[in-house]
């Protein structure tokens, strides 16, 4: 019975990826400050990945993760060992692991990172003074799901998909399973199989031994109980005493209490039946100090046990709860180290629980067989056996709160569907309005109920979509490190408040803008170390990302302590490009001037940076932020630094729109930017350089016909038409838009624009009206400048 691991693949990929991302973050954090908790956390991540990968049978991943774990463990012992090269090496390993996991995700075999393994191994050796333990390597190879303890003959036949390709070699595997000689454990298995039937035969005498399933079936599945259970008797042939106990000294030793145990091999043929029914009284000398009877116990750790040392320790612990242990062989330290010749353990127990008590204490320990329990005194008082597993109290609550992982597509689907439910409800309500008066109340009641339920469902879906900002800010430290290294700068990145949650859809949109802003700070905001020193600043630049909640908004500040922006330069640049007038430049406040950097081509930084193959400039940052219903502000003090402030809605934004019609199309204008509406005859307007001018207040506003601005076909209509006066931005100032019809206001859910629509200038989002019609929301200033 092999487990079908394929169903865990998705989880493996997502969770391993998370651990690796976290590992990368820790590494970056580590370089700044090597705290114990960071190193511990790294250890956990590497350890988890190793565990998962070895469970999945992904040997190359497991091996690499294991080596990372080893190395981190070494650092854990002494954090002074950490240097930049080591961090680089570990980052490299984390990246390689990520690539390996990605390979697995696209159904490829992860590649063996031989070179890296070697490098890591060399470092482990250099740091710890010994090579990565052979057993550890063996563990990974031996742990392929279908491979039983180093016997590759069976293992490769298991046909377990992912593990198949990792080869049947398992070089260390042979040495893995038993600390003793491999051949002994090898021959032990067949013997064990024979003994299992023996156990069955004697089952009546030893009720606790039970039937087959108890055995740790590490052999081939078909053979059932190949490993004898607790009370099974080894056939005489395998009852070879450990060497150190077989000498006459041990048997007939000095009259000291310590060596008076009677060896079971004095009667090698005694079956369990004999032991458990009338025990042969064997003369011995009771220990004077403890009045308790003394029992000689002989056990064997199953040869298939992966960690015999721990197993032996557990046995020791169990027995020691019964009374005093005397003459343990091998001695405890040897036991713990797993140095147990052929798995045999011999000990005397001074206890009042009797042989049944001893048997009972070991009955529930897996992978151990009690070879014999012989009394040192006749007729030990029979005490009631205490079952080690008492009935734990039954819980009153049957259900704990459970969490499941939901794919984001599913969350999107939920939201879409709930959105549609809302639309359908609105539709029903509309339909209700035209029904005859007498049928209306029933429908309206139903619609009201439906509305309430859908609203509630919507809230639930929204809360399920809330995701901590750390999901995207977690990428920043690594990015900062890489950027800083490339620019040969020192940067300290401090992120606070990343636990604050936002709707997943907004979060997804923000990933690139945040990265861009960070890059902006490091590339353009921060000065070189020399410059900084000259300005009496610390050579190490500092970028802080602060997230906070303010009512229904989340505010993100990205702040650097660099050179700051020059409003005059920005104005000059915008002027040169004809984006603003001289007059506007004169009157423009600094705050507005900073925002000029968001106009394409104005940024004082000459280069538009490119993130993940996608050109994202400050204009794109602003657009994305606005498309999710947020705002961007920039503040800067020359010589002291720049702060970008993103104010974001918690959830997918609900915006108030003024709906307007031109030709056959409907568009939405954000009410927040609408100054007013008026009517005028375009023909009657005065003109300046082809642009019509609308009197407004004390001045004149440039007029733009929306149809020509958007390229929408619309038949020219003579006479009066409505004008909407819109707030402009830093560059444009107020404008008047000529439309065909004002359709009224509506509150809608703003949807961000998906590829390729986000590439179009002048659109800030899209929404779906109650009628089901998609409507674009316009970004008027961008329409005018792009």
């Amino acid at each position: 019975m092999t487990m079908d691991m394929s169903r865990y693949l998705g989880l493996f990929i997502s969770e391993a990826t998370e651990h690796l991302e976290a590992l990368g973050r820790d590494l970056v954090a580590l370089e700044r400050e090597a705290t114990a908790s960071t190193v511990d956390s790294m250890f956990r991540h590497a350890h988890s990945v190793k565990g998962m990968a070895s469970s999945m049978g992904f040997e190359p991943i497991a091996m690499l993760a294991h080596r990372v774990e080893d190395l981190v463990d070494a650092v854990r012992q002494d954090r002074k060992l950490l240097d930049r090269d080591l961090v680089d090496l570990l980052l490299n390993a984390a990246d390689t692991l990520t690539a390996q996991v990605r390979a697995v995700a696209s159904s490829r075999e992860p590649e063996q990172a031989a070179g890296l393994l070697q490098q890591l191994g060399a470092r482990v050796e250099a740091l710890t003074g010994h090579a990565p333990a052979a057993t550890r390597v063996a563990q990974v190879t031996a742990l392929k799901p279908a491979t039983p303890s180093g016997d590759d003959g069976e293992g490769s036949g298991g046909g377990e998909g992912p593990s198949g390709a990792s080869g049947s070699g398992s070089p260390g595997g042979a040495a893995g399973p038993a600390s003793g000689s491999g051949s002994a454990s090898g021959s032990g298995s067949p013997g064990g199989a024979a003994s299992a039937s023996g156990a069955g035969a004697s089952g009546s005498a030893a009720p606790a031994s039970g039937a087959g399933p108890s055995g740790g079936d590490t052999g081939v599945g078909a053979s059932g109980a190949t490993v004898p259970s607790a009370l099974a008797v080894m056939p005489p042939a395998t009852l070879m005493p450990p060497r150190d106990l077989s000498g006459p000294d041990a048997l007939y030793g000095a009259p000291s209490a310590r060596t008076l145990a009677v060896m079971p091999e004095s009667d090698p043929s005694s079956p369990v039946a004999a032991l458990t029914s009338g025990l042969k009284a064997v003369t011995s000398v009771a220990d004077g100090k403890s009045g308790a009877p003394r029992w000689s116990v002989r056990l064997r750790i199953s040869p298939t046990c992966q960690v015999p040392g721990v197993r032996a320790f557990l046995v020791h612990k169990r027995l020691s709860t019964l009374g005093t242990l005397v003459d343990l062989r091998p001695p405890l330290e040897e036991l713990k180290a797993g140095r147990i010749p052929d798995g045999y353990i011999q000990v005397d127990v001074e206890t009042g629980v009797g042989d049944t008590g001893i048997q009972a204490a070991l009955r529930n320990v897996a992978e151990v067989e009690v070879v014999s329990v012989s009394p040192s005194v006749p007729e030990p008082p029979a005490l009631p056996v205490v079952a080690p597993t008492s009935d734990a109290a039954r819980a009153t609550a049957d259900t704990g709160s459970r969490t499941v992982r939901v794919r984001t597509e599913l969350l999107d689907y939920f939201l879409d569907t709930v959105g549609e439910l809302m639309l359908a409800t609105a539709r029903l309500r509309e339909v209700g309005k035209v029904l005859p008066e007498n049928t209306r109340p029933a429908l309206e009641e139903g619609v009201y109920r439906l509305h309430t339920l859908v609203k509630d469902l919507h809230d639930k879906v929204m809360s399920a979509r809330m995701t901590p900002l750390s999901l995207i800010t977690d990428r920043l430290p690594r990015a900062a490190r890489d950027l800083a290294r490339r620019k040969e700068r020192e940067v300290e990145l401090v992120i606070t408040g990343a636990e604050i949650e936002l709707d997943r859809a907004i979060l997804d949109e923000l990933a690139d803008p945040l990265l861009h802003l960070l890059r902006n700070c490091i590339d353009h905001g921060l000065e070189s170390p020399d410059e900084r020193m000259a300005a009496k600043k610390s050579p190490r630049g500092r970028v802080t990302v602060t997230v906070r909640r303010a009512r229904d908004r989340v505010i993100i500040d990205i702040e650097d302590d660099g050179r700051g922006m020059d409003p005059a330069k920005l104005k000059a640049s915008a002027l040169k490009r004809g984006l603003i007038t001289e007059d506007a430049a004169q009157r423009m406040a600094d705050r507005d001037a900073f925002l000029l950097s968001c106009l394409p081509g104005v940024s004082t930084a000459k280069d538009i940076t490119d993130i993940s193959g996608r050109g994202v400039g400050m204009d794109a940052v602003k657009r994305v932020v606005e498309s999710v219903g947020g705002t961007l502000e920039i503040d800067s003090v020359r010589g002291q630094g720049t702060t970008f402030t993103l104010r974001l809605p918690l959830t997918v934004a609900v915006v108030h729109l003024l709906l307007v019609e031109v030709g056959e199309e409907v568009f939405g204008l954000p009410i927040a930017k609408v100054v007013g509406a008026t009517e005028a005859d375009p023909q009657a307007l005065s003109k300046s350089r082809e642009t019509a001018l609308l009197p407004h207040g004390n001045g004149l506003l440039p007029v733009h016909a929306l149809e020509s601005l958007l390229g929408v076909p619309a038949a020219p209509k003579p006479g009066y038409r409505p004008f909407v006066v819109m707030e402009g931005d830093a560059g444009t100032g107020k404008v008047a838009l000529a439309v065909d019809r004002l359709l009224g206001q509506e509150e809608v859910v703003l949807k961000p624009l998906s590829r390729p629509l986000d590439l179009l200038p002048g659109l800030s989002g899209v929404t779906i009206l109650g009628s089901g019609r998609p409507v674009f929301i316009l970004d008027v200033p961008r329409l005018l400048t792009a």
């Binding site: 549609e420 958007l710 590829r755 629509l757 659109l763």
Partner: protein
């Protein structure tokens, strides 16, 4: 590999099944996308999602044809908001052995294959995506 086979006029095209989310009937009317390239038919509301519909004919620079375009092939979830307007969808077929397509190299075209004795142009989902993006990006 299984492909969704569809037609633009008489010419047959294929996309890996894994790259196609679903096939839908186009809406009665689209919402026009202001300032969009001509190949963009418009956007449609598909169960609350705004899907951009691209005329495959124009994307591949094929000549205008007489047949109405009556199916939208929606791409997979990575490109979930993109639909290709085609003449009709034939079905799902196994397509093996894709060889290089004759003529100009286009990122949207992976190659050609034989299917039931006839040729089928196998499209590349990533390439299609890139071709659409390229429409929106003025060439430098």
């Amino acid at each position: 590999m299984r492909h969704v086979i569809f037609r633009v006029e008489k010419e047959r095209y294929g996309l890996p099944l894994s790259a196609v989310r679903e096939v839908v009937v186009p809406p009665e009317r689209y919402t026009r996308v202001p300032r969009a390239p001509a190949a963009i038919t418009g956007v449609m509301n598909l169960r609350g999602r705004v899907v951009t519909v691209v005329e495959l004919r124009q994307l591949l620079h094929l000549p205008e044809g007489p047949t109405p375009l009556c199916r939208v092939v929606l791409l997979d979830r990575g490109r979930r908001d993109l639909g290709l307007l085609v003449t009709d969808v034939d079905g799902i077929e196994a397509v093996e052995r894709v060889s290089a397509a004759p003529g100009k190299v286009m990122p949207a075209v992976r190659g050609v294959a034989r299917l039931g004795g006839l040729g089928v142009t196998v499209l590349d989902p990533e390439g299609l995506d890139a071709a659409v993006v390229a429409l929106f990006t003025p060439s430098k």
